[in-house]
C-alpha cells in the first residue's frame, strides 16, 4: 500500500541532471551512486529558517495591499510559509542545540536555543533538553512527552484511513488543542518555573514587541503576519509533523525495547512517487503523465517539505540511529549508512503527508518497509 516495490528515487534518474538537486531535496534521497557537490553547514539551517520566515512575511505584507481576490490566496501561501520557517528554527536548529550539535560549544548551543525559543515562545533550554533526552531514552513510551501530546489529541492505533482523516481534521482545527498548545508555550516562558534569565528574556521580548507596535502602529501586520502563523499554523504544522515522527504505537508504548525494536520505531519519510513508466506509449499520454507527475512533485510534495517536513527531519531515522552524525547532510549520510553493515537498521515510507501519518499511527494496512541496502560506492 505505501510505496510500490519499484525504487522510487531511481525511477527519477533518467530525468535531466539539472533537476536532480531539486529531486534530492524534495524526496530526501540522493541517487544511489551520487556524491554531494556542496556540503551543508549547520548554520545554513538557521539562515534558511530565517529566510523562509522573512519571505513569508514579505509575501504577506505585499498581499495586504492587494484586492481581496489576490490577498486571500497569497495569504494562504504566506501563512504556512512563515510557519514552516519557524518550524525550521524549532525542529531543526533548536532540536540540534538540544543535542549540542548545532554549534561547537555547549554555551553557544544554549545561547542559540534560548534566543530562538524566546522569539518563538517555546520551552527554555534546560527543561526542553531534559524532556528530549527522555524521548531518546524511551521513544514512544508513555514517559515520552510527545506520546502524551498525541494521546491528548485523541491519536490511537488501528484506525481506518477514513477514521484517521476525521481525527486529523478534528485535531488540526480543535480550539481546545490550540488553546492547550498556546497556553503551554506561554506558561513555559513566564510562569516562574523557568530560570530567572529566561523569564527576563521573555518579558523583555514581550515589552519590546508591545513598545514596537505602539510606536509603529503595525498591529494588523503583527496580528496577521506573526501571531496567526506563529500560533495556529506553527502548531498545526508541529502536530502534523509529530504524527509521523515515529511509529508511535508499534510496540504498545513499551519502555524497554531491544535495539532492533527501537530502530523500527522510526522511518525515513521520503516524499514523492515513482516517475511515470510510459515508454512506448503515445506522445500525448506521455506528456500528460509527466505533467501530472511534475505538478504533484511541485505542488504537493515540495510544499510538504517547505511547510511540515522541513530540513533534515526527512531522515529522522538516521537521527535516532546516530544522533551525532553530520545532520546537515543527512540524506548523504543515510545513503552511506545503507552501504555499511548498519543498513539493516533503516526503514522507510514513500509518499506524502498522509502516507507518513498513516504509517506513523499504524492505520490499518500501513507499515514501513526496510530500506534496501546499497551496493558499490558513491561517485566522486
Amino acid at each position: 500500500m505505501n510505496g510500490a516495490r519499484v525504487n522510487v528515487r531511481e525511477s527519477m534518474r533518467p530525468l535531466p541532471r539539472m533537476t536532480q538537486p531539486f529531486l534530492t531535496w524534495v524526496t530526501g534521497v540522493p541517487p544511489a551512486d551520487a556524491a554531494p557537490r556542496v556540503l551543508w553547514h549547520p548554520h545554513l539551517a538557521a539562515v534558511t529558517g530565517v529566510a523562509q520566515t522573512a519571505a513569508g512575511i514579505a509575501l504577506g505584507a505585499v498581499a495586504l495591499h492587494l484586492p481581496w481576490y489576490a490577498l486571500v490566496p497569497l495569504l494562504l501561501v504566506a501563512w504556512p510559509t512563515i510557519g514552516g520557517g519557524l518550524r525550521r528554527l524549532d525542529v531543526v536548529v533548536v532540536h540540534q542545540t538540544l543535542h549540542r550539535m548545532f554549534a561547537r560549544s555547549d554555551r553557544a548551543n544554549r545561547v542559540v536555543s534560548e534566543i530562538v525559543t524566546t522569539l518563538l515562545w517555546r520551552p527554555p533550554y534546560d527543561g526542553n533538553r531534559k524532556e528530549h533526552l527522555v524521548h531518546h531514552a524511551h521513544p514512544c513510551s508513555f514517559r515520552d512527552g510527545d506520546t502524551q501530546y498525541l494521546l491528548s489529541t485523541g491519536a490511537a492505533p488501528g484506525m481506518t484511513e477514513q477514521q484517521f482523516r476525521r481525527y486529523l481534521w478534528r485535531a488540526v482545527f480543535s480550539p481546545r488543542h490550540h488553546w492547550s498548545f498556546t497556553a503551554g508555550r506561554v506558561r513555559a516562558n513566564v510562569t516562574g518555573e523557568q530560570p530567572v534569565h529566561r523569564r527576563v528574556m521573555s518579558l523583555a521580548y514581550l515589552a519590546l514587541t508591545v513598545a514596537g507596535l505602539a510606536l509603529t502602529g503595525w498591529w494588523l501586520y503583527w496580528l496577521l503576519l506573526w501571531l496567526v502563523p506563529a500560533t495556529f499554523f506553527f502548531q498545526a504544522q508541529t502536530f502534523l509533523y509529530t504524527l509521523s515522527e515515529h511509529r508511535w504505537w508499534l510496540f504498545d508504548n513499551a519502555e524497554r525495547l531491544t535495539k532492533s525494536q527501537r530502530d523500527q520505531l522510526t522511518f525515513g519519510r521520503f516524499c514523492g512517487e515513482p516517475a511515470p513508466a510510459v515508454a512506448g506509449r503515445p506522445w500525448a499520454v506521455r506528456q500528460l503523465a509527466w505533467a501530472r507527475w511534475w505538478l504533484r512533485m511541485v505542488l504537493v510534495y515540495a510544499p510538504y517539505r517547505m511547510w511540515v517536513l522541513v530540513g533534515d527531519t526527512v531522515q529522522h531515522d538516521l537521527h535516532h540511529v546516530r544522533p551525532k552524525c553530520d545532520w546537515a547532510n543527512s540524506s548523504w549520510v543515510r545513503n552511506a549508512d545503507l552501504r555499511s553493515s548498519e543498513a539493516g537498521r533503516y526503514y522507510e515510507v514513500w509518499g506524502g503527508l498522509l502516507s507518513h501519518v498513516y504509517a506513523g499511527n499504524s492505520v490499518r494496512g500501513w507499515q514501513a518497509r526496510p530500506s534496501v541496502a546499497l551496493t558499490g560506492t558513491a561517485a566522486r
Binding site: F142, R143, Q148, S180, G184, A254
Partner: protein
C-alpha cells in the same frame, strides 16, 4: 477482544464527549476545581451517562467473573491496612475490555480532569496502573487506607451499594506516604477525614499521592465495582516511581492468563 455490549469503543468517545459537554459547563467545572483545591478529592456526579455506565459495567463484570483474583491480606507498606477485594489487572483489561481502554485513553476525560485539578494530567507512564477493576462483594470487603504512587486517580463507579451498606470512599487530604515508616493513624489525627457516598455512573477524582483514602468496608448484600484509573502529573513523567502495592494487588504488567 471480548465485547459484551452493543456499544463499541468507537462510539464511546462521541457519546462521552456529548454528555460531558452538556453536563460539565464552565460554572460546574470551576466549582469542581475550587472544591478539589480544598478537599483534594471531588465527586463527579453522573460523569458517565447511564447507557455508557451499563455497557462498561457489563464489560467489567464479565471480565471480573472470568479473571478476578480474590485477595485477603494486609500491606505493611501502608501500615498494615487490609485489602479484601477481588481484582483484575491491566493486561487482561487491555485485551478484553475495549470500552474501559477507550474510556481511559479518551482525550475528553483527560481534558476535564486537567481542568478540575488545575494542571495537565497524562496517561500513566507505567502501563500496569492504567486501569484496574476492583470488586467488593462480601461483608467486610474493603480497600483499606492507602496512598498511591502517582499524583492523580480517577475512579469510575460501576456498581455501588447504598451508603448504609458501606462502600463509600473516605479521604484524608494533605497527608504523605513515607514508605519506610507509614503512619496511617498519625495521618488520621493530623487531617480531616471526609466521606463521600457514590452511585453508579459517578466518578471521583483524587490527588492520590497526598490524600490517604480508603473504601469503607461493605456489609450485608452490598456490592461495589469500580475501575480505578491512574493519571500522572507532568512531573510524574520524569520521576522514578515504584509500584509495589499495584504489582501485588493487580499484578502490574504481568498477564495472569499466561501463568495458567
Amino acid at each position: 477482544m471480548t465485547t459484551t455490549s452493543a456499544l463499541t469503543a468507537d462510539q464511546l468517545r462521541p457519546a462521552l464527549a456529548r454528555h460531558v459537554r452538556r453536563t460539565f459547563g464552565p460554572d460546574r467545572v470551576r466549582d469542581l476545581h475550587d472544591r478539589f483545591a480544598t478537599e483534594n478529592i471531588v465527586v463527579l456526579r453522573q460523569f458517565c451517562p447511564p447507557e455508557l455506565t451499563e455497557a462498561i459495567a457489563a464489560e467489567a463484570r464479565s471480565i471480573a467473573e472470568r479473571n478476578g483474583t480474590p485477595h485477603d491480606l494486609v500491606f505493611a507498606i501502608t501500615d498494615s491496612t487490609p485489602r479484601r477485594m477481588t481484582t483484575v489487572g491491566q493486561p487482561v483489561i487491555r485485551d478484553e475490555g475495549p470500552l474501559i481502554h477507550a474510556f481511559y485513553f479518551n482525550p475528553d476525560m483527560l481534558d476535564i480532569a486537567s481542568d478540575i485539578v488545575g494542571e495537565r494530567v497524562h496517561v500513566c507512564p507505567y502501563a500496569g496502573e492504567h486501569y484496574v477493576i476492583s470488586v467488593l462483594d462480601r461483608t467486610g470487603d474493603t480497600h483499606g487506607w492507602h496512598w498511591d504512587d502517582y499524583t492523580y486517580g480517577i475512579i469510575l463507579v460501576l456498581e455501588a451499594p447504598p451508603y448504609t451498606d458501606g462502600g463509600f470512599v473516605q479521604a484524608a487530604p494533605g497527608t504523605s506516604w513515607d514508605k519506610q515508616n507509614p503512619d496511617v493513624y498519625g495521618a488520621l489525627l493530623r487531617s480531616q477525614v471526609r466521606s463521600y457516598a457514590l452511585e453508579p455512573g459517578d466518578a471521583y477524582l483524587i490527588k492520590t499521592n497526598t490524600t490517604m483514602h480508603r473504601v469503607h468496608p461493605i456489609r450485608g448484600d452490598g456490592r461495589r465495582m469500580i475501575v480505578n484509573m491512574t493519571l500522572a502529573s507532568t512531573a510524574d513523567l520524569s520521576r522514578p516511581l515504584t509500584h509495589e502495592t499495584n504489582d501485588v494487588l493487580f499484578g502490574g504488567t504481568t498477564d495472569p492468563r499466561r501463568a495458567k
